[in-house]
Symmetry: C2
Subunit: 389 residues, 2 copies
């Protein structure tokens, strides 16, 4: 076991939602956090804060430091240079989705989602009284791809906003330049706002390359709001720090008209300091994490009988097509009951018959998860051959 | 020096805004935080979090614990029983002010403020494109009181919301039942929403009693949104945790229609855990703080020549009427330059000619602040007698 992987006993002994939502005999492979110790520089900076115990108002430089660390990191990793003055810190990217939908569309209008999609994308549309307009990713036999031919038509439905998710959750796709450019073209034609959640950008496997949507060109950037955070790659979602980057002053001012400064809250110092350190000092840790995740990903492809799963191009999330099991209940519920593994329910992602499996864990725990899932799937196979579904 | 007071050298050695905004030869008596160590139970719970270093998603019980701790605390201290299911955690009370204004009034409408008032009250009205309608507190020669006779007329100006601040910042008034009942009567007549910021409720000096506005009766509660937080009394504003309590389901639903769940962000775990512990375990610490503040408050009344100041009934903030100094510049700027003391500028509170002094510090530091202020004021007095203003 590597220095930062934890045993299931160690994980259960800690507080937090992932390992305590289900009974102790269930292995959790649901909510998107990893079973790894966070990097030592993050631990150290937060310990420093609680040693000092100065819980008054944070230094006035906090927000500027966050914007600087973000811009430098994006430049170094993706060759994209965001403008620090267009950065707005925000508690989490779900808040960013909700507020972006509210700011860039009107009640009753459509918002395009590329489904299946992470449930908060849907809630952000519904709960703000907008309509979900579906642009469904297509299974091409080896991965899920964007149907670029149908893209323009989707926006006929009075839909001024696209919530792009790239890398894509739950399919793990890293969209290619041609796919992104197809979006950019439609966006320019129809004067759309593109809200690009790119939180999984750091978790891309060899052979693929993340392209920030705003980096496609100045005209594209002008209509793009980028959402970014260190929470996924550096495993600190509980610290509640993310940011929005507005590709133009016009976009930011439109947003600010509805959500002036301080209406959306102030991001806490623990979250900001951890994020700054993550982006500045934890690259080596992330590289080691990617080795573990890469190995996990290989095993995944090999070991799921009766379930179709394309190796994700990014993320530690696998999108399992369980329809071959011919279940009469949801895959999530079935695997929970028959394998003692808690995944996320596909229907919540607008993908009924599917489940999302989190493989961001130690090889040992993943082996146990896959063993349980395989055993259950095999038994289901035998049952189907004997008596039918 | 008591166990929790800190020297100016110790305070300057820590990070944070209060002691670093001005040069080292300036004593900071501005932003509303105290120069005291936070209570040990708070320090311990936060150290526990950084020792564990589990920064994944927080336990699902966090919000419920906060609501429970709040309801119990309000019941014990003020005999008011809030409904836990009507509690909404929020990053800070300024966010609560902004969102309440947006939810309970329309663009162009008026929002009543009892001036002078804490600047974010004004910004919350202006930046959401509403109009400030002033209901000015009156100097009755011994304190600032509500002009209950003029109250009803104020609401003729198409103003459906009152932002009540009680105890009042900056005057330190704890409004009496008759004053609050006058508001309640007008609110019922005019179908107003009252947003009651009661964050200083714990910092009331002997002889006065804080009455939660929502506790006046069920009809009053139905139109009241109460804002509360442990940040002022327990000196943890940097942890970013407050809450809103809706006095009725109708109020909450109206708010939720504009601001659905997750649009306003998720409060971080450090803030929630610290607040829960503050409300449950730190009463003794607060009692000791109140002794220090009570002594400080006595000195204040005695030692400010040329400046009028009524002893506040609550808060560690003194509202200084500096008009007797006949300054040609703002009192804030003048005291900064001539006394090396940084206060808050009265004009920012809609009280030009005034300054707000923070006396939440050790007796030693306060003595130095008052000595500097007194010396400067005396020199100004001599100057005026010689050459006029």
């Amino acid at each position: 076991m590597s220095a930062f992987t934890l045993s299931s006993a160690e994980l259960r002994a800690r507080s937090g939602r992932k390992w305590h939502e289900y009974p102790d005999d269930v292995l959790p492979a649901w909510v998107a956090e990893m079973d790894f110790e966070v990097a030592e520089p993050i631990r150290a900076v937060l310990r420093g804060l609680t040693d000092e115990a100065a819980y008054g108002y944070e230094p006035s430089t906090e927000y500027a430091q966050l914007a600087d660390a973000f811009a430098t990191y994006m430049q170094q990793r993706f060759g994209w240079q965001p403008a620090t003055e267009q950065v707005l810190p925000i508690a989490d990217l779900v808040q960013a989705l909700f507020t972006a939908v509210a700011a860039f569309s009107e009640r009753g209008q459509g918002v395009v989602l590329q489904t299946p999609i992470y449930p908060p994308f849907q809630v952000a549309v519904r709960d703000t009284h907008r309509r979900i307009v579906e642009h469904r990713l297509i299974d091409d036999g080896s991965r899920y791809v964007m149907d670029t031919r149908s893209l323009a038509d989707v926006f006929n439905a009075d839909a001024p906003v696209l919530l792009l998710c790239n890398p894509h959750n739950p399919t793990g796709r890293v969209f290619e330049r041609a796919e992104l450019e197809a979006i950019a073209e439609v966006a320019a034609d129809r004067q759309l706002t593109v809200v690009a959640d790119e939180v999984h950008a750091d978790l891309v496997y060899p052979g693929r390359q993340h392209i920030p949507f705003a980096s496609l060109g100045p005209e594209v950037a002008e209509r793009t709001v980028t959402l970014q955070s260190a929470t996924k790659a550096y495993n600190i979602p509980g610290l509640r720090c993310g940011l929005m980057h507005f590709g133009s002053t016009a976009l930011r001012e439109r947003f600010r008209d509805l959500f002036p400064d301080r209406m959306l809250g102030t991001v806490n110092r623990f979250g900001i300091d951890a994020t700054v350190v993550a982006w500045r000092e934890c690259g080596q840790w992330l590289e080691e994490v990617m080795w573990v995740l890469g190995d996990n990903r290989q095993r995944l492809a090999a070991e799921l009988p009766g379930v179709r799963c394309y190796a994700p191009e990014a993320t530690y999330l696998a999108w399992l097509d369980c329809r071959g099991l011919e279940l009469t209940e949801s895959p999530q519920r079935w695997f929970l009951e028959h394998a003692g593994v808690a995944m996320n329910e596909g229907a919540d992602f607008m993908g009924p018959g599917f489940a999302r499996l989190n493989f961001g864990t130690s090889p040992e725990i993943l082996a146990e998860i896959l063993s349980r899932v395989t055993t259950a799937a095999r038994a289901r196979g035998s049952y189907l051959r004997k008596v039918g579904p």
